[in-house]
């Protein structure tokens, strides 16, 4: 079993490597010295500066609002798209699926640049709306890919049964299909949410002067030099990510059992 310990040691090493920069940031968030070169003493001052920085707080709120709204809309459109795509057959389905995946595989700069051309040519002011539309646009295919497999696996006789029992199409959708798809829909929403929170490249292209997100703000501040306020922010972001992951894990576990019970019927 020597091989296994070697493997575990390697895994541990890579994990340390992966987390080192993150903990490095968080560690220096508590540094009293002004930069990340030397730890001179413990302080919470950087957090105080962060919370007093109303501009940055506003940007954080904006970013979350944008992520929430865009992923919500993307989830609605994407779920309908997934249901529609599954029903198609043959070449039409392949073509649409191919188009669906274009925004997932394209490099961010290409998406950003092409959206910038689009918004400019139709004469739209760059700002919240253009960023929102872009985020919805690149989130839709993610939702489709999360929801589609579930609908594909679904036993379609459930739908026939509902129809036979006199359910209207709307009732079948509400009572049978949507509950069955819930795990995929939640997963899609979460994925879209995190994509939106993390996105930098696309937002950077399509945002104007009056709207910015955390990523874009960090980028411009990082170019100006190190400020420990950003470290404090990263500490909070990391904590939040962990909560999000835990929450996601529990929601998926619970909804998974719901899905399973419906397959049993």
């Amino acid at each position: 079993m020597k091989k296994n310990t070697l493997g575990k040691a390697y895994l541990t090493f890579v994990l340390i490597l992966l987390y080192a920069p993150i903990f490095y940031l968080i560690f220096y968030a508590f540094n009293a010295g002004g930069d990340m070169s030397k730890f001179t003493g413990f302080t919470l001052e950087n957090f105080q500066t962060l919370f007093a920085d109303s501009r940055l707080i506003l940007i954080v709120v904006q970013t979350f609002f944008l992520a929430f709204l865009s992923s919500l809309l993307a989830t609605v459109i994407g779920t309908i798209g997934a249901i529609y795509l599954v029903k198609l057959k043959g070449r039409k389905k392949e073509t649409l699926l191919g188009l669906n995946n274009v925004l997932i595989v394209s490099p961010d700069v290409v998406i950003g640049a092409s959206f910038l051309i689009l918004f400019t040519l139709i004469g739209m002011q760059l700002g919240f709306l253009s960023v929102l539309l872009s985020h919805i646009a690149f989130s839709i295919p993610i939702v489709v890919l999360m929801v589609m497999p579930l609908y594909q696996e679904m036993d379609k006789s459930l739908i026939d049964a509902a129809n036979d029992l006199g359910a209207t199409p709307a009732q079948t959708m509400r009572e049978i299909i949507l509950p069955y798809l819930t795990p995929g829909i939640i997963a899609g929403f979460f994925m879209a949410f995190t994509y939106s929170l993390d996105d930098f490249a696309v937002t950077f292209f399509v945002t104007g002067n009056d709207f910015t997100t955390i990523s874009v703000e960090i980028y411009s501040r990082a170019r100006a030099g190190i400020s420990l306020e950003i470290n404090a922010l990263s500490a909070l972001v990391f904590l939040f990510s962990i909560f999000l992951v835990i929450g996601y894990y529990y929601i998926m576990r619970d909804s998974d059992t719901v899905g399973k019970s419906s397959t049993l019927t």
Binding site: G7, K8, Y10, L11, V14, L15, L18, P21, I22, Y24, L25, Y28, D35, M36, S37, I77, G78, I80, G81, Y84, L96, L99, N100, V102, V105, P107, D108, V109, V110, A113, S114, F115, L116, I117, L118, L121, L133, I136, A137, I140, P169, L197, F200, A201, F204, F205, I214, S215, I218, Y219, A222, I226, I230, L233, S234, V237, S241, I242, V245, Y249
Partner: protein, 262 residues
């Protein structure tokens, strides 16, 4: 028939956010700064040493990043499949991707900086401070660091689906561990590797924020050039031309790494 109406938003999305933008990008690539229709952008691109060298460098960087990431990630994925709580450990590998990319880049500015930890350590060893930030090496390192989870995940999925009986059978038939790996495990995990290469190579061509923050404008990738032309020099035609090249490069990579079913 009423169901058709519900799919309208999805169709509108495909038309207005997939087809139209890509079409416009292609269209724009045929215009010069004065708005005249021309092939000059393509001629300039393919005849200029600067652009070709940049493209070559960009592909080379992406290749190095992909290979480095693969070498680091494959053993990780392999070890993961052997563990008891593999989903938990996989989660730990994926978790760093939830931390904003810019924050991680920012961390490396601190780590690699002139007075950062690595240099402090080098100083401590008596080797003295060197310029680490704003070099090719730091760009490749950080880009690989960021890509690891995206490589581990698909390889893990492929290895996890692999039937253990095949490995046992190979061992029973007298194959050495090495032979089992090269003849059985590796070929069967290739689809995961292909997916991983896709997920790392294409984004590596367009990581413009890293080239700026970590590469210090010395590393110019295709992505950096697109950003530069669109947002700094406002030469959309040339920017679009490079973006079209980027799309073609993407299609080539997709083609080469297409999942194979035997």
């Amino acid at each position: 028939m009423t169901k058709r109406i519900y799919s309208v938003p999805y169709f509108l999305w495909i038309v207005f956010f997939v087809l139209v933008p890509l079409g416009m990008l292609l269209w724009e690539s045929f215009f010069d700064l004065n708005g005249h229709f021309t092939f000059d952008n393509y001629i300039a691109y393919f005849s200029s040493g600067t652009y070709l060298l940049m493209t070559w460098n960009s592909v080379l960087y992406a290749l190095i990043i992909t290979v480095a990431t693969l070498v680091i990630s494959y053993p990780v994925a392999f070890v993961l499949t052997k563990l008891k709580m593999k989903q938990f450990w996989l989660m730990l590998i994926i978790l760093p991707t939830w931390v904003n990319l810019l924050l991680k880049a920012y961390a490396f500015i601190g780590i690699f900086g002139k007075y950062g930890s690595v240099n402090n350590f080098l100083q401590f060893l008596g080797l003295g401070r060197t310029q680490i930030l704003f070099t090719d090496a730091s760009f490749i390192l950080v880009a690989s660091y960021i890509s690891i989870p995206f490589m581990v995940l698909p390889i893990f999925n492929a290895l996890n689906d692999l039937d253990d009986n095949l490995v046992s059978a190979s061992m029973d038939l007298g194959a050495s561990r090495f032979q089992t790996f090269t003849q059985v495990i590796w070929p069967l995990s290739l689809n995961g590797v292909r997916a991983g290469v896709q997920a790392v190579f294409i984004p590596s061509l367009s990581l413009f924020m890293l080239t700026r923050l970590i590469g210090g404008n010395k590393v110019i990738t295709l992505g950096t050039a697109v950003e530069e032309h669109f947002l700094t020099t406002q030469n959309w035609g040339m920017g679009s031309t490079i973006a079209v090249v980027l799309v073609v490069a993407m299609l080539v990579v997709m083609r080469l790494t297409k999942e194979r079913r035997d």
